[in-house]
């Protein structure tokens, strides 16, 4: 059973999307914006609301890279691994980042400061290697710039 506060928050979110056609993705984005992840207890609430099964909701959450079932670190750093960024040194940059943080892709540093994720293209293909820090784009990232970004994020 969900607590009263969760039910209240979810009622607000579901009401906001009531008029949309095919509202599940917008609902999940709103949930993630609210909680930072998709808490397990909201799955049943969403399923009941949309008259679909919990399995269907879970299937959608697990299909998309964006939706997480646990909180991320305080900052999310995404590094582009796609071809255009690779042509200007993204692989070395990725290796450096993972080594510095001591985690694998998708991992969070032990101090909880940074979650590092691979992303396949940020559309910054003419000014790569590209990265994104909490939704803010950064281009022409070299080793020094990366170190600065990691330090600012509290690595």
């Amino acid at each position: 059973m969900s607590d009263v506060q969760t039910i209240e928050i979810m009622q607000g979110i579901l009401a906001r999307h009531a008029k949309q056609e095919g509202p599940l993705l917008p609902i999940l984005h709103s949930v993630q914006a609210e909680y930072g992840f998709i808490p397990a207890e909201v799955v049943q609430i969403i399923a009941d609301h949309l008259n679909i099964t919990r399995a269907e909701v879970h299937g959608v959450i697990s299909f998309y890279h964006d939706f997480r079932d646990a909180p991320a670190g305080k900052h999310i750093i995404k590094i582009c691994r796609a071809e255009a960024c690779q042509s200007v040194g993204a692989n070395a940059l990725s290796d450096r980042a993972l080594e510095k943080l001591g985690v694998e892709w998708g991992g969070t540093t032990t101090n909880g400061a940074i979650t590092i994720e691979a992303v396949y293209c940020l559309g910054l293909c003419a000014c790569g290697p590209a990265a994104m820090v909490d939704g803010k784009v950064v281009g022409r990232v070299d080793g020094a710039k990366l170190d600065k970004l990691l330090a600012e994020a509290g690595a």
Binding site: E21, H29, H65, A82, A84, V119, L124, C125, V137, G139
Partner: protein, 505 residues
Amino acid sequence: MKIYVPLDSAAKAVGADDVASAILSEAKSRGLDIEVIRNGTRGMIWLEPLVEIETENGRIGYGAVDVADVPALLDGKLVSLGLVEELDWMKGQTRLTFQRCGIIDPLSLTDYEAHGGLTGLRNAIAMTPAGIVEDVTSSGLRGRGGAGFPTGIKWNTVLGAQADQKYIVCNADEGDSGTFADRMIMEGDPFTLIEGMIIAGLAVEATQGYVYLRSEYPDAIDIMEKAVVLARGAGMLGADVLGSGRSFDMEIRVGAGAYVCGEETSLLNSLEGKRGVVRAKPPLPALEGFLGKPTVVNNVISLATVPVVMEKGAAHYADFGLGRSKGTMPIQIAGNVKFGGLYETAFGLPLGDLIDKVAGGTLSGAPVKAVQVGGPLGAYMPRSKFDTPFAYEEFDGQGGLIGHAGVVVFDDSTDMLGMARFAMEFCAVESCGKCTPCRIGAVRGVETIDRIGKGDTDAIELLEDLCETMKDGSLCALGGFTPFPVMSALQNFPDDFATKKEAAE
């Protein structure tokens, strides 16, 4: 004095926001009356942040401007690039789709109209739906997302379908590496896309539109959402489009990081709130698309090109190009290049001219080894194929594809076996799982390439066979086209697959 500082993501990524605020604070401390306008990008990404100052003779460019350059800029002491319109990169282009991008304030409808916006829509309002479809058909416009299917023919199918509700869905899930034209137009001239979608709505009698925009583009999402609100407020969208008595409204929908949702049937499932799994065709989305209703699914650039077709006429557009590739293509030059950015030109420019002349060769200065055209599913072209004209059929004849016209350049330090491996790895990560050859084949592909990398040349035949199976046994382009980069790397750069064996021996 008007100063333009781009708000485009690529400009922001290299410091445009800081430059803009430095100009404002410097102007304030000097007591200067300066208006900073955040425009889209002109597409010369190597010059970003490209600051422009309006003068009597035109806009003078400065780039790349650093925050430290701002005092000199306002003193008039910073060395300029001259008139932006007169730069070789700008003069060499035929800008139709991108005619306003980088010039106007993206969120000013007044600017938009002053530069030719809404003329196409007004012309379309005066026409019958069939008349609009006929114009788009005769313009020769083909789907710019990659498949190159004639836009007018798709529209005609939707127009002919009987239904109580039809939809226009814009595919803005631009996930291909090396492509950013969709992002650039959405950030730099969003009303063009909105106008194109309204015209599509009028043409096929659809009243609701959706833009499925990838979550990796937060800036584009923000601008498009604002533009939709402004368009609604100005009566461009809503129950009575520009007083025509016709209704059309639209909504921006955000994707969730699945590359495969750029495939139209996956996109429709995702838009309906399902897993982005590919659907078998038929039924065509034109007949049974979003929520089972007749739906036009077009790429951003296809839709954003419709206004200029309706503004200047189908014949004007069709006059550009080569053979069955009519009009212009916004080519995105990316990767290891000296001059990267967006270059809109008529179809037919040889690939080599694009790389050696327009892009100025590699950024690293080393020789070009390979060029991947058309995103992660496009072939790696060696220098021996550089005389191929940039057009649909011509690239097809060379075992490649132009796709969404992203061109990624690699220098001679690139390991093509590694790139082939990455193509398989990417396919394995992004496969929706519906077709076995894609879901399992991509995983086996990575393993097989690793075997080749360790010197097992017998595995080459296995890889070729696997690629054939993936090509023939996948419903969509992800599984079906991943063999393009893999096989082209193998065939065009056999040394990268053989030397490992020699080294091992």
